[in-house]
Structure formats: C-alpha cells, structure tokens
Symmetry: C2
Subunit: 511 residues, 2 copies
C-alpha cells in the first residue's frame, strides 16, 4: 500500500479554498500512485479557528465542506483528513466538538480518530471548544492494521490516557498521526522523540503555513519501529510524498543550521500574514540598527523587494552612518527607501509642548512617536502594514515606547532575544548573499534619542535570564512593570517555547 | 449559628496583603458575633492569576499564606476561604491545581470543596490550570448539614455533573457557594436564578474589586429554599454581614437602575486599575464628544478630580463649541484642563509629509496621531496613564485610528455600545449632579478630522446588530477587517456577556 503524506497550507475559514487545496494534494498523490492520502489536523476549517468554533453555522459549513471533499474524491484514493465535527454539548457555552480525523471513502465520511488529549497550555486552548474523543479501533487496510492519532495524542507523557499504547494493544502495526504542530526552535527533535516512543512504524503529517502568531513548519516524516527516518518532507511549504513499507532508512537526513530554519520560519510567518490577509506590501523603519536590518531582509524574502519600503527618519541625534547603512542595505536588497528628516517635526513638537517635554523620557518618546506617525503616513498612503522591529529582550525589559517603536501590526522578531537577532544577522550575512554593513553589526545598540545614547543593558548576560523567567511564567520588576506594553503589541511570530502573545496570559494588575 | 458573608477585594499575587484583608474581614465578622466567616473564591492568590499559576513557587507561597491565615484565626471563628492548592499533575505543562474552598479551624487547613465545574469559555480559562475536584460530603456544623460549592458548581445546567444535587443527595440542608463571578449587565438576576434552582437555603459570597478587564461586583446574598432574598450585601465594595437562620425575607430588596450599576462598575474598574497599579493619575483627551465626557465623569469619581486631566486639542476642523463644552465640563468636575492647539503640529506634519498625506484617511489619521503624541507627552511629564475613550460600536466597526484615538492603557467604555454611552451620559446628568453641556448630548457624533465630518453610521440601528454578532462569535466585513486593531487595544473593562479582550479569541488571518 502506497501512503501519501500531504502537507498543505490551509487558511482559517476559507472552506472552499481549503477543499481545493486538499484536492490539489490528492491529485498530486494520485499521480504518485497513492492508495491512501493523509492530510493534516484541522485542514478543512484551518487551524486554529479558536472562537469561530463557537459559531454553530461555521461548524455546519465545515461539515458540508468535508462532505463535499468526500464526494469529490469518491473515485479514490482513500483520504484521511483533519476536520471539526459535533461531539455532543458538554457544558454551557461549550460547543463540545471533536477534533477529528475522518476517512473519505466512496463519498462517505467516517470518523477514524477524535483527539483524546486536548492541549490547553501555551497557545493551545483546545478544552475551550473540544471534548476528548473516545477510543477507536485500528482499521485493516492494505494488509496493515492502522491506528490513527491526532497531534497531542502522541504527546501522552504525563496524561492519564495513552492513545498510542491503546492502539498498539488493539493490534495496530502502523500509526498515522495527523498534526498541526507549531514551529519552535528544536521542535523537530522533540517530534522524533515522541514518534519513536511507541516503537511502531509511524506516519506523521503536519500542517504547513502560518496563521497569525503560529507558524506550522510541515516537515512531515515517516519513522520505522526502530525510530529510523524513512522519509521527510520539506519544511515551510506544501508538499506531497508517497512512502511504501518496507522502505530503507534515509542515508543522510537533512540537518540545516538552526538559523537557516529560523529564517525560513520567519519568512513564512511574514509571507502568510501579508498574502492571506491580502495586504500587498509592508513598511518598516530602517534605522541602521541590527533589528530593522534583519526585518528588512526577512520582509524582502517574504513578499518581494518591490513590496517592501524602509524609511530612515534621522533626527539631530542620529549618527550619519546609521542612515548611510540603512540606505546601503536597502540598495543591496532592492527595497524601496525613503529618508524623512525628523528635525522639522521634532522642532515643532518642542515648540508646541515645551512645558512638558523637558529632556527626559518624554522628549525621547515624542521623537519615537513622530517616527511612528511618519511610518503610518506612508502606510496610509501606499497600503499594507507597518512591521514592528522590536526584539524579545527589549519587550521583556519594557525598553520601547508605546505607540512608537512598539507599533506595527506584525512583529517578526518579537520572539527572538537580542543575541539571537545578532546570530541571525550573521547567518544571513554568511549564507544569504546579503552583505550587512559592518557598522550595523558592530555598533553598540542605541535608540539614538539623545546624545551619545547606548542601550543600558548587557544583552548577552541579561537576555537568557529574561528568557528563562518568561519560559517559567515567572517575573521580575522589569517584566511586571512593562506588562501593559506587551498587552498592546501586534502579532508576534512565535518561534520559542514561550512567546509574548496569546500563549502567555499574565495579568497587568498584580503584586 | 451565625454566618458572616465577607466579600473582600484582593489583589492578584499580593499574598501578604490578601491575608491582611481576610483578617480584617474576620475581625469585623467576629465583632458581629459570627461563628463561621465565608470569604470568596481564590481570595488568597487573587483572581484570576492566570499563567502565574504555572509558577510552582507561587503555589508554594499561596499554600504558605493559607496556612499563615489558618494560624492567625486559630482562636476562631471558623473560616471558609478560597485558595489554590496542588491536586496532582494531570498533563504536560498542566499544573493540575484545585480551585479550593478550605476550612480554617484550630490552625488546620481542611479542603471542604474543590471546584468540579471548570468554566473554560469567555474570560474563563480554568481548564488550563485546574483539575476538577472530587465529590466531598457536606459538613455538620451548628446543627446544619452544610454543602460547599465553588462558583461554576452552581451553574451546572448542561454539564455532565451536578454538584448541588450531589450535595443535596448527601443530606445538605444549607449550601454555601464561594464565587469570583465577574460583573456584567443583568448578572445578578442570573445568579439568583441559579442559586434558587437547588431549592435549598443558600449563602453566596462573591469577590469584589477589579483586576484588569474583570470587575467583581460583590453583591453577596442569602436565599431561603423558596428563593426569597434574606440578605444582600452592597455592590462594588468590601463588606461583612452576619446572617442567622431562620431569617425574614427582605421586604424591599434593592433595585437600582441599570445605569446606576454600570456607573458603579466602571468607576470601580478605573479606580482599582489605577490604585492597585499605583498609577496615581489619569489623562484623557476631552474632545467635546459624549464618549470623553462620560470617561471624564467616571475618572473623576474613580480617582478624584485632582488626579484627572482632560486635554482639549482642537484643530482647524474643530467646532469652537467642542472645546468650550470640554472646558465647561472640566470646570464642573473640577478636573485639570489644558488646551493645546493642534494647528502648528498639523501644519508641520503637512509640510514634512506633503507627498503622502493628501486629503484622505492619511491626513485624518495624522491629526489623530498628533493628538495621541500630545496626550502621551502630558502622561510622560505628569505620570499615570492615558485613558482610552473608544466605545464598543466604534471598535466593532474599526472606526478608530491605531496609535491615536485607539491608544490608552485602560478603556472604560470599550464594552459599551454608542447608545449605551448616551444612556449613561443622560443618567449621569439626571442622577449625579453633573450637568453635561447640551451640545455634547445633542450634536451628531463626529471625529472632527475634516470639514463638516459626521460619523457615517446610524448608531441606534447598527449597534445592536454588531453587539449580537460579537455575542455569537460571528462576524461581518467590518468586524473582520478591524480585528487587528482590537488585537492592539489596551485593557477594556468588561460589562457585557462578550467584550473585546481576553474573552474573545478570534484570529486576524481568516476568510
């Protein structure tokens, strides 16, 4: 029996489009001779639809789309796909849905697995909408006894139930796991670890594509019972590949550098946000600092240089080399570049608000807010969105100004520590053919909002400490004092185990 | 047996302070001769601590604080109080806590109820941290058989388990429910309905005080088995009151106007945000429109007129009566008032950004952003926070400018429709001795960002339609298109069944 792993990039709520994406994958699989095509978790509704799942008319439409797909693949091959379906109301304001794997055969939709372990931590809130599924027996197909799992079902350590063990006890000799597993650094090794634990051949099909904060990396794979890799699909793009058992282990599994994977992840995060929301283009402040340099490179890769504009907005405190470097990088990348002198605006604000500004933080913040105003004027004129260029260390410290450098609808680097941004810049320099001006990499980080200002932090020392506090949901004075700033942030692309965003519910008002 | 209902206002994470608050309430109850003092759900940690509950050292500290309180009340009376305690790890990254009611007696802490029904909808995410408690038998105390419940346990319709029925089956003749039930319009009648369903005398003790979005209204009460009100504590403030059984029904239960309750709720929401975060003061743009007029009144009541400043920032398009009315209202309220002419800043921006601004939305947004800059300059100079003055209808329509009128750390009216804001303004005028200038109430709503501009909406018609869509987690083009703006919002005080904020998880990227 030939099994196709078909990782697709679905769009939340785009039911017709998602059915089309499934059909295209099934067609590609059929061309490769597949008998069974496996598509990821929640492909039909898109993932995560979150509170849209409370809308009963949406569930009805998802069921209709699933049936429609079943009819369209009635001639074969067999298809297993992730979808949502009613599972019985379990509580007030709880829709009690199943996070389902269904088999499409001869026009019929049959439940083959309903997710039993519902992750309800970090960016996962599945207990909000779903009810745990019951144990379903393996299916006899093509001489195999196939047991089906949905994502967290494989991640069963510590849970009271053990879906893989239950399937093995029922005689399964092949496990098929459909997943929508978000990218974060080092996640692939964790997936291999969990996929190997049942010591049974396993097909793992993961979603690809980004939806808001969450980037799905695909990288679907097949392991044999000894945990050897038999197949692995590419990362961060749709792909279809057929596997037959038995199959020889891959002789040289791909092992790209961590920064290479991070680069791909962030590019996909930006691209999908821009394209799925039909935004067209992006604008960013290109200051001559390392953060905005990296965002510019990522954006150009994601949406094409012609759709990116960097604005340099130098003030009386800006080192002339900052703007020169910004210009140089923009030229290298081929992105749009404009320079707006902040001085006339700065002077007008000083005249108008002389009594209030003083020379302290207010005077600095006003400059940063004027820059936002200039950037947003460009966005209003030419469309698209403003990209935020903050990094996670700054966000943890609260070292940023509300409605200023903290502005921006999408934050590509908001989950990277400052040292990680430098490492990514260096990797880009060495591997992407983009010479980043040496001044950008070597200068001390500075907001350039007063004379001779440099960031008052030992980043290599403080960044990992803050990272650990955030990971453990702990806090310190800086984190507590800046919680309200992060509450205000746009969408931060998640690449770590604990990002600022919807995966972190920490009160502002606390002691 | 004399039972004291003791509704307190605890602060999340302020364990020492919360123990002190409990002790003060116990002292007041003792002075009234209480044999048993009942304190609200999660009083010791504060509610909702959310992901702070993932920090194991916090749980250890909460347990120590609970034990400390037990020791301090060892001489009596008996105390029942809500706290968090370990209940056994149930899943990876799941702390498996109990949302517990404990009895403090002779220095010992004894579990009398662990919440069995864990709400996981709207602003509730309890399945994220808690594991459902087991059935515990009623206790024989003072000739009564008392059954204990925690909040949602009473709200059992539709759930598979029925905690009140289980307690009655075990012989309970008095139910004691400790709660942290958020305020929303009409909630008290719902509480009475659910409290009456077991047809058993019931003591309901609810938290008071606001923590970020959520306002707890207190209004603890006692019902007899026929659902008659025997006692009711005041709303929105700490209070202690003793009840004995049997007791005569209240002859005239308090029934304030809905707007009176809303006023109290919003005032508490502002006051607690400002005082618990030690912010000192608030600033708002006082435009001469109805929204900012109402926010000014609420803020003056919440934190004292001396701690409120309204800034009028008229532009070339501002009707002179707008600023006159703003001034008049500020004088009536006794709040600080400043006028900053937008023209020089506006002119400077036009000169600097002439190519981009044009006369469309960009030109309007730049003015709104300059106003934010002026307001934040004042906040930076004098401390405190900016109050947002948006209403829910504008937020639903996306009729507001990012980093401009949508700015502000706290949004008092973000969960009130435009017609509700008018109704509240009228109620204030008639009941709070604050004459609101007639022009503010009678003018057509306008952003005053271009000549003769008025808001292009039939608010009385569109507001309820949008409200219904939001309540049902449904959408329309305006809601979808503006999701990213709401993602960026500060803290919106929740007063309806479905507010924008952490109770609404809707993706931006969708179709």
């Amino acid at each position: 029996m030939k099994i196709a792993l078909a990782q697709v990039n679905s769009i939340i709520g785009d039911l017709e489009g998602n059915v089309e994406r499934c059909l295209a994958a099934v067609e590609a699989a059929r061309a490769q001779g597949a008998d069974l095509v496996v598509l990821p978790e929640m492909t039909i509704p898109g993932y995560p639809p979150r509170d849209i799942l409370f809308d009963g008319s949406f569930i009805t439409a998802v069921e209709a789309a699933t049936t429609d797909l079943a009819h369209q693949v009635a001639e074969g091959p067999l298809v297993v796909v992730g979808t949502a379906m009613p599972g019985g109301m379990v509580a007030p304001e709880h829709p009690g849905l199943l996070n389902a794997a269904v088999m499409l055969h001869a026009g019929e939709v049959t439940l083959v697995a309903a997710k039993r372990l519902l992750p309800t931590y970090d960016v996962f809130y599945e207990a909000r909408w779903f009810t745990p599924g019951a144990v379903l027996p393996p299916l006899d197909l093509g001489g195999r006894r196939m047991g089906f799992l949905v994502c967290e079902d494989l991640w069963d350590e510590g849970y009271a139930f053990h879906p893989p063990a239950d399937l093995l006890a029922a005689g399964a000799d092949l496990l098929i796991c459909i997943a929508a597993s978000p990218f974060r650094k080092g996640i692939l090794a964790q997936r291999f670890y969990h996929a190997h634990r049942p010591h049974c051949p396993l097909v793992y099909v993961n979603l690809t594509g980004a939806n808001d904060e969450i980037i799905f990396d695909g990288r679907s794979f097949v392991l044999d019972g000894d945990g050897r890799l038999l197949a692995q699909l590419p990362g961060f793009e749709p792909a279809v590949q057929v596997i037959e058992f038995p199959s020889a282990p891959l002789s040289a599994p791909p092992t790209p550098a961590p920064e290479a994977i991070l680069f791909q992840a962030l590019v996909l995060g930006i691209r999908d946000f821009v394209t799925k929301n039909r935004l067209g283009r992006v604008t960013l402040g290109l200051s001559g600092g390392v953060d905005s340099a990296v965002v510019a490179v990522l954006a150009a890769e994601a949406v094409g240089a012609a759709n990116v504009t960097g604005l340099a907005i130098p003030s009386r405190y800006t080192d002339p080399r900052s703007t020169e470097c910004a210009h140089e990088l923009a030229t290298t990348l081929g992105i749009g570049f404009e320079v707006v002198d902040l001085e006339p605006l700065h002077a007008a604000v000083e005249t108008a608000l002389n009594d209030w500004l003083g020379t302290g933080v207010g005077a600095e913040n006003a400059q940063a807010r004027l820059r936002m105003l200039v950037l947003m004027a460009y966005v209003n004129r030419y469309g698209g969105i403003l990209l935020n260029t903050s990094n996670k260390t700054e966000l943890a410290l609260g070292y940023g100004t509300l409605y200023a450098d903290l502005a921006g609808t999408l934050s590509p680097l908001g989950d990277l520590t400052k040292p990680e941004v430098y490492a990514l810049a260096t990797w880009i320099q060495e591997n992407r053919g983009v010479p980043i001006p040496a001044f950008i990499l070597e200068r001390p980080p500075s907001a350039e909002l007063k004379p001779d200002q440099v960031d008052p932090f030992d980043y290599p020392k403080i960044a990992p400490l803050l990272e650990q506090l955030v990971l453990e949901n702990r806090s310190n004075a800086a984190l507590r004092r800046s919680e309200h700033k992060r509450w205000h942030m746009g969408v931060i692309l998640k690449v770590s185990d604990k990002a600022f965003g919807t995966g972190r519910l920490i009160p502002i008002t606390r002691r």
